[in-house]
């Protein structure tokens, strides 16, 4: 019953995502569904497989959600334009990756906007590898359900205040201490993995 659906405005979606909790989840799903037809268009435009486009679209939607929640999306362009731009870039990356059939180490996690100084960026960039990220994903299952949940919430861009509220910590400071303790636990597991035999 598409005609009975209330239209979703950008303002509704942005406000819903910024509200957090159940409203955020619901708005995220609505955002995904609202512009889902872009997948089909991109399949023709970029000559990619539908599942490749679907994956790039999900990634783009998640990026837009992160930008909305963090305030990086300021509403200067429409949500559709913003999403479309990010989605198109991800499709182009995918086309490039398919055509070269390799992943450059520097594409794993671009740090261009993270550091001001090139030296600092280089010092960290060469330590980042695709293999380590995937190993860390596996190790996330070994730090306990609660820690995993907390690290995932942080990875999704939730603030310590939101984590405290949703996970029942008394203050954001307590949530932050617990989060850092969970990261330390993961780092120890990761160090064991990297230790030479």
């Amino acid at each position: 019953m598409i005609f009975l659906k209330r239209s979703v405005s950008d303002a509704d979606l942005v406000a819903g995502i910024r509200a957090g909790g159940v409203q955020r989840r619901s708005s995220e799903n609505r955002l995904y569904d609202h512009y889902r037809y872009l997948i089909r268009e991109a399949t023709f435009k970029h000559k990619l497989l539908p599942e490749e486009c679907a994956s790039a679209y999900s990634d783009a939607v998640l990026t837009v959600i992160e930008h909305i929640a963090s305030g990086r999306f300021e509403g200067r362009s429409g949500l559709k334009t913003y999403l479309y731009q990010i989605f198109s870039n991800k499709c182009v990356d995918l086309v490039r990756k398919n055509s070269t059939n390799r992943e450059s180490i520097h594409d794993v996690l671009p740090l261009d906007n993270v550091f001001v100084a090139d030296d600092a960026r280089n010092a960290v960039q060469h330590l980042i590898t695709e293999g380590d990220i995937e190993e860390l994903r596996k190790k996330l299952t070994e730090i306990g359900d609660k820690c995993r949940q907390m690290v995932l919430a942080w990875g999704e861009g939730y603030s310590d205040e939101e984590i405290a509220s949703s996970m029942g910590y008394q203050t954001p400071a307590v949530a932050k201490t617990s989060r850092l303790r969970c990261l330390e636990r993961l780092r120890n597991l990761y160090a064991e993995l990297k230790r030479p035999l």
């Binding site: 598409i2 005609f3 009975l4 909790g21 159940v22 989840r25 619901s26 995220e28 799903n29 995904y32 569904d33 889902r36 037809y37 089909r40 539908p50 679907a54 994956s55 999900s58 990634d59 939607v61 998640l62 996690l109 740090l111 993270v114 550091f115 001001v116 100084a117 030296d119 600092a120 010092a123 960290v124 330590l127 980042i128 380590d132 990220i133 995937e134 860390l136 994903r137 996330l140 359900d145 609660k146 949940q149 690290v151 995932l152 942080w154 990875g155 999704e156 949703s166 996970m167 029942g168 008394q170 932050k176 850092l180 990261l183 330390e184 993961l186 780092r187 990761y190």
Partner: protein, 238 residues
């Protein structure tokens, strides 16, 4: 302050411009700090990929379930729009405000599980202490006490219920579901609240399979007249 704390402050934007500059300079000299920064960024990316994998499972339903915006002919669309407008106006005026089940579950937790009833006599001290901690908002302490009791009294239905409710309150839905499932599977209980609470926990966790599982549980609650029957019937729209 250890390396991870420094890195966290940097990436959280909690440093002044001078501190940021000093931190970046330190990165080039201190391999331990650079390694902590790399670990931090890689972990954030790993967490993001996990989230993305979960979202993809949830979002990427088969295409045939989604109406295409491009295939309706203009004539069909125009005729349908007129009908839809009339129906839509009627629906808009008469529409019932039906919140989603997950919202109902949140409201239930807020309304009914804000405090636990203190029982006089018959309830072991450890559980009473746990209830006291819960009612003062010390959920972690309450959880420890209930779990401590369960170590030696694994089949204590009251302790399973209390531990499950505390996990629910803490947002540890996986643990809450496990405890309520154990409670729900206990035979011979006169009045078993396990299935209803498990449904509440699933509705809050909101994974793709949870909606279906919660619906089955709510139907069971209604059919077997278990605690929570009134809420279950309302949530099922009966």
């Amino acid at each position: 302050m250890n390396e991870l704390e420094q890195v966290d402050r940097f990436f959280a934007g909690d440093m002044s411009a001078e501190e940021k500059q000093a931190f970046e300079q330190e990165l080039t000299r201190n391999t331990g700090l650079a390694s902590a920064a790399a670990f931090y960024l890689q972990t954030r990316e790993a967490a993001r990929r996990e989230i993305l994998a979960e979202k993809r499972k949830q979002w990427e339903r088969p295409e045939e379930n989604i109406p295409s915006r491009r295939t309706l002919s203009i004539y069909v669309a125009s005729a349908a729009a007129v009908i839809a407008l009339l129906i839509g106006i009627g629906w808009w005026v008469l529409r019932p405000a039906v919140p989603e089940r997950s919202e109902l579950a949140s409201a239930y937790i807020a309304d009914h599980l804000a405090t636990l009833q203190t029982r006089m006599g018959g309830t072991p001290d450890t559980l009473q202490l746990g209830i006291g901690q819960y009612n003062e908002g010390h959920y972690e302490e309450a959880k420890k006490l209930f779990q401590q009791w369960l170590v030696h009294h694994a089949a204590d239905s009251e302790a399973l219920k209390l531990a499950g409710i505390t996990s629910l309150k803490l947002g540890d839905y996986d643990e809450a579901i496990r405890l309520f499932r154990r409670l729900g599977n206990q035979p011979g209980l006169y009045s078993n609240p396990g299935p209803f609470y498990e449904a509440v926990a699933r509705l809050r966790r909101h994974r793709p399979e949870d909606e279906t599982e919660a619906e089955k549980l709510l139907k069971r609650v209604v059919a077997e007249e278990l605690p929570g029957k009134a809420e279950a019937a309302t949530w099922l729209g009966q």
